[in-house]
């Protein structure tokens, strides 16, 4: 666990007059789980959009497995091994759970034959506990099930870096527990590196190897959960300054 799979070098993103992210540096090692926290508008989702190629950085460079992904389309970045979920779930609503995962498998990091993608899809659906809903239309699932579907759809692409955007939000404490268990198992089985945006602090502290704290587009802290919890600037941002 030392090879760097994802590297951000001075990545900034400007939206008109708004500096959504400024000069972010980050190295993520293979198999690591990096939690990302920060208030609304801190730039968390923008960071994911930059890595997944939906938005180009204004400056800086992003490298996957040592190669720059600047200028690549999102589907090309997916082929390099990046999978993502969306903060507001975006399943292919009119298609079945199985088809959702199947399509991700047929494309993704490489073109897989129908049989291959089909086996993959069945295994993942089983692993995330949606086997009995496999033929149901994705739009008929509960929010919790749709979130699980998004996770396995990202994994089905064959990506080794998975960006999870608030997959625990809106879930009951039991569902959170369940979801974390499944994600942990997937991470082991599929050798995944995870980046997790989360507001559920306790969960994030529990599963992350390191945590990146964003505030108004700046990285104000990065380190292991204990370090971050006691960081003066983080406390100041979250609890206010002691006058």
């Amino acid at each position: 666990m030392s090879s760097v799979v994802l590297e951000l070098r001075g990545v900034s993103r400007q939206f008109g007059g708004l500096r959504a992210l400024s000069s972010i540096d980050l190295n993520v090692s293979r198999g690591e789980t990096v939690g990302i926290m920060g208030a609304n508008g801190a730039g968390k989702t923008t960071l994911f959009s930059l890595i997944a190629g939906h938005v180009p950085p204004s400056s800086g460079d992003i490298l996957i497995d040592g190669k720059s992904i600047l200028g690549l389309r999102p589907y090309e970045i997916c082929r390099r091994g990046v999978g993502r979920t969306f903060q507001t779930v975006r399943p292919f609503g009119g298609l079945s759970v199985f088809e959702n995962v199947l399509i991700a498998g047929r494309f993704g990091t490489k073109r897989r034959a129908m049989a291959d993608a089909s086996v993959r899809a069945t295994a993942l659906i089983e692993a995330i506990g949606l086997a009995d809903r496999a033929q149901a239309k994705a739009e008929t699932l509960t929010l919790s099930a749709q979130k699980r579907l998004e996770v396995i759809r990202a994994v089905a692409t064959g990506a080794h870096i998975i960006l999870l955007d608030e997959v625990l939000a809106g879930l009951t404490p039991n569902e959170v527990r369940e979801m974390l268990g499944v994600i942990g198992k997937l991470q082991k089985d599929y050798d995944l590196t995870l980046l997790m945006i989360e507001h559920v602090m306790r969960a994030l502290m529990e599963v992350s190897n390191r945590i990146l704290v964003l505030h108004h587009g700046e990285a104000i802290a990065i380190g292991d959960p204990a370090q971050v919890r006691s960081d003066a600037r983080v406390l100041e941002c979250y609890l206010g300054k002691d006058e």
Binding site: R73, R90, R106, F107
Partner: protein, 298 residues
Amino acid sequence: MLRNLPFAVFFGAVIILPFVAGEYFLSVGLGLLMWIALTQSWSLLSGLTGYISLGHVVFYGLGAYLAALSWGHLPLWAVLALAGAGNFAFATAISLPVLRVRGPYFVILTFGLAELVKFSVMAIESALGEYGRLLFDVPSMATLYWLMLGFAVIATAATQLILSTRLGQGLIAIREDEETAETVGVPVTIYKSLAFGLSAAIPGVVGALMMLRTTYFEPQQVFDPIVSFTIVSIAIIGGSDDSRGPLFGAVFLVLLSELFWAKAPQVYLILQGILLIGFVVFLPEGICGRLFAQRARR
């Protein structure tokens, strides 16, 4: 088995037709096959990707124009190949700007594009001093019929078979959510262009065949927007997500038009409008969708 019954009945009937029917029924059959080929090609783009084209006549018209220009200089197969390939090339080239817009904007854009091409062809023709072109020594009705049947079969098979291909699945993903499709690795832009090109090729050939049938080229006629409207009507009336829909829709509308068109063309157009509204409001799944949904429930 039941699934393929409509195909068997329909294609069985149109194969027997030339041996038992006279000129009139053969020409009705030709029209029927034409609408099936056109609607199937349309659904290759619009049914799969959800980009609703209201200007598909542009490919039909260009195919007819290419045939009018090349007939007499090239053999039949080359004329048809030119019409098909020419349209594929034209559609893929314009797809990059055209497919950047979605929803109602795409509908309006395709309609406008067809009109633009119509008036451009009219301007070119009048600049050349051509006021209508006559085609001589055209193939027999029977030849055209068999060719049209062949292309109707190809278009139907293509719409059916593409569903299980990677291209088909990618296009369906695009229909569901374009951005998500790209996120899971679907090369969205390339696939959309390809679908647009494929859906244009057969209408080009069909236009060329119909040109050889009518033997008189007139831009207003071959670029008539009614052709685009009829394609969409057949697709909606026939309904269903698969390639059986257009068969039902085309048979229904062609029979209706034979009943009314000659005697009361205005009544037919009004009726088509009423039917379209009726189907959209009361039977959005179409004839085929309703028929098979009920069977499945039993």
